[in-house]
Amino acid sequence: MSKAATKPEFALMAEFRSSRELLHAIEQSQAAGYTQLEAYTPYPIEEVWEALGQHKSKLPLIVLIGGIVGAFTGYLLQYWVSVINYPVNVGGRPLHSWVSFIPVTFETTILFAAGAAVLGMFALNRLPMPYHPVFNVPRFALASRDRYFLAIGSWDPKYDRRATEEFLLGLDPFEVNEVAS
C-alpha cells in the first residue's frame, strides 16, 4: 500500500495487544502533549473514551427532542384529522377522543425518538464514510478482531514524523505504521 510519497501522511498509528497497553499509551501521549489522538478498539471500552476526554454524548438530547416532536406530531395529526378537518360522529364518541389518541401518540413518540437515535448516532460519527485513511494500514483489519490501535493525527501541533514515531515506539507497541492519506 505504498501511496505516492509526495502527499503528507494522515497519521501515525501504533498497534497494541491489550486494552491496558492502549490506555497506558493514551495516558503517556497526553502527558507528552499530544492532543489529536484517536483510539480504535475491537469492542466498546468506556475507559478509552473517558481517557480521551469524551464524557457526555449529545445523543440523549437529540433523542429527547425527537421524542417530543414525535409526540406532538402524533397527537396533533389525530386532533386535526378528527376535530378540525372532517369532524364526524363516530359511534357517539366525542370528536376529541383523547383517550383513543393515546396509543398512536405513544407510537409516534417512540418512532421519532428511535429514528433520532439512529440518525443522530450516524451523524455524530460522521458516517457513512466508506473511505478513511486508517484503512490504508493493512494490519488495521485486526482492529475488528483483537488488536488495539492508537493514532496521532499529523495535524497535531506537536506532531513530528520522526519524533512522534520514536515516541510511539517507546510505548512498547506491537508495531507502528504510517497512515497514508
Binding site: V88, N89, V90, G91, G92, R93, P94
Partner: protein
C-alpha cells in the same frame, strides 16, 4: 331422507322436523324440483307435484313414509331450530343451548293481556335497561330529523315479505345454498323465530332484526377507515366505496346484522341484469360490508323533495321497503324527534323495549312486546 308414498306414487324427500307441527301430517312445498328455470331455479328442491292429483290438489291422505339411507344437505339461516326451548335429552353437551340462552337474554318479550293490565310496562323490566344518558361521552345532538323504527312483535306473523322487499329494494345479492350453509346469507333483515312452551304445541314468536342504527354504535368505533359512521340524522351510514373489508364492525356488532361480500356475489357483467336493480342503491362489490340503511335512498329523496318545497318531511312520507310491504303494519318508521309521529307514538307505548339495552348502544330500532290473550280452557285442552 325419507321416501313418501301415496298410492303408487312415491317421492324421496329430505325432512325437517319442526315443533308444533300437527301429529301424523307433513307439509310439502310445491313449486320446486324444476328442470328448466335457468341458473338459479333448475334442480333445486323436489317436485312435489308428482304426489298430488287433480282430485285433491292441496291435501293428500294416506301417505306412507319410510326412512331411506340417503342424505341431503339442507341450508338454513337459522340452524337452531329450538330457540326458546330447552335442549333435547340426546343432544351433546353444549349444543342446543340456544333455546335456553335466547330465553335468558329476554330478546323477545311476551306477556299475557292479564299481565299487561296489572303491569303495563312489564316488558321494560324484563331485561336490564341502564339509566338514560349513562355514558362516558358527552351527548350528541340530533337537531333536525332523527330517524327511528319500531316493530310490533304482536303484529308480526313471520311472513317474510319484509325480507323479500328489502332484498329487491336494496340490490341484495342471492348467494345460493352453499353460501347460506356456510353462514354467509346476505339478508339485511332477518326473522328470528322463537318457540315457547312444550315441543308438541309451542307458541311461535317472530322477531324481525335489522340494523338497529345504534346511537352509540360499537361497529363504528372500530372501523379503521371510517367507512361506517353516523349521519347528522342519526343513521348508521355504511359507505361501501370506503370499506376495505376488515369485518371488524361485524365482529363488534352485538346484533350481528352486518353482511359481508365474501365473493363478488353481484353479477355486473350480464347487461340484462342491470335492469333488475334499483338505480338508487349502489351495487356492492366483493370484499365490502353491507347492512340495513333504513332505506336511505328513500330518505334522501324525500328530504330533497321537501327541501325544494321548503317544508318539513311529513310523517309517513318515507316508508322503508320492509314497512311498505308489511301486511300487518308491524313496522313503523319515522322521525323520533317529532313527538307527533307514529314512530314516536309507538316508542312511547309501555310495551316498547330495546334489545340488548344493557350494552348501552342506544338502538334507534325498538320493539313492542307481544301480548297474548289466551283462553284458559283452550290452553289446557
Amino acid at each position: 331422507m325419507v321416501e313418501v308414498t301415496v298410492d303408487d306414487r312415491s317421492l324421496e324427500l329430505p325432512v325437517w322436523i319442526l315443533p308444533g307441527h300437527a301429529d301424523g301430517s307433513m307439509t310439502i312445498h310445491l313449486g320446486y324440483g324444476r328442470t328448466r328455470t335457468g341458473r338459479v331455479g333448475s334442480g333445486s328442491g323436489f317436485d312435489a307435484y308428482r304426489l298430488r292429483t287433480s282430485r285433491a290438489p292441496w291435501h293428500v291422505a294416506g301417505a306412507r313414509i319410510r326412512k331411506i339411507a340417503k342424505h341431503y344437505e339442507l341450508a338454513s339461516t337459522q340452524l337452531h331450530s329450538n330457540i326458546g326451548l330447552a335442549p333435547g335429552p340426546n343432544e351433546e353437551p353444549g349444543f342446543g343451548v340456544e333455546g335456553v340462552e335466547a330465553e335468558r337474554r329476554h330478546l323477545v318479550r311476551v306477556g299475557t293481556l292479564e299481565h299487561f293490565r296489572q303491569e303495563p310496562d312489564f316488558a321494560q323490566h324484563m331485561g336490564h335497561t341502564p339509566p338514560e344518558g349513562l355514558s362516558m361521552y358527552p351527548p350528541w345532538d340530533f337537531p333536525g330529523y332523527a330517524w327511528g323504527l319500531s316493530i310490533d312483535l304482536g303484529a308480526c306473523t313471520g311472513c317474510n315479505a319484509c325480507v323479500v322487499a328489502c332484498q329487491s329494494e336494496n340490490n341484495i345479492p342471492i348467494v345460493g345454498k352453499e353460501m347460506v350453509a356456510m353462514g354467509r346469507e346476505m339478508h339485511w333483515i332477518r326473522i328470528d323465530r322463537y318457540f315457547e312452551g312444550e315441543l308438541e304445541h309451542p307458541h311461535v314468536h317472530h322477531q324481525p332484526v335489522m340494523c338497529m342504527h345504534c346511537e352509540q354504535a360499537p361497529c363504528e368505533v372500530v372501523c379503521p377507515v371510517g367507512a361506517t359512521v353516523h349521519s347528522s340524522e342519526g343513521l348508521n351510514d355504511m359507505v361501501y366505496n370506503r370499506c376495505v373489508g376488515t369485518r371488524y364492525c361485524s365482529n363488534n356488532c352485538p346484533y350481528k346484522v352486518r353482511r359481508f361480500n365474501f365473493f363478488k356475489y353481484n353479477d355486473t357483467e350480464t347487461p340484462v341484469l342491470e335492469l333488475l336493480r334499483n338505480p338508487d342503491v349502489t351495487v356492492r362489490t366483493r370484499g365490502v360490508m353491507e347492512k340495513c340503511t333504513y332505506c336511505v335512498q328513500r330518505i334522501n329523496h324525500a328530504r330533497i323533495e321537501a327541501e325544494k318545497e321548503e317544508r318539513q318531511i311529513r310523517d309517513g312520507e318515507i316508508q322503508t321497503a320492509c314497512q311498505q310491504v308489511c301486511p300487518t303494519e308491524a313496522i313503523v318508521f319515522g322521525d323520533v324527534n317529532d313527538p307527533e309521529s307514529k314512530v314516536s307514538d309507538a316508542k312511547a307505548k309501555p310495551l316498547a323495549y330495546d334489545i340488548l339495552a344493557e350494552l348501552g348502544t342506544r338502538p334507534r330500532t325498538s320493539y313492542l312486546a307481544k301480548l297474548r290473550n289466551p283462553n284458559s280452557t283452550l290452553e289446557e285442552s
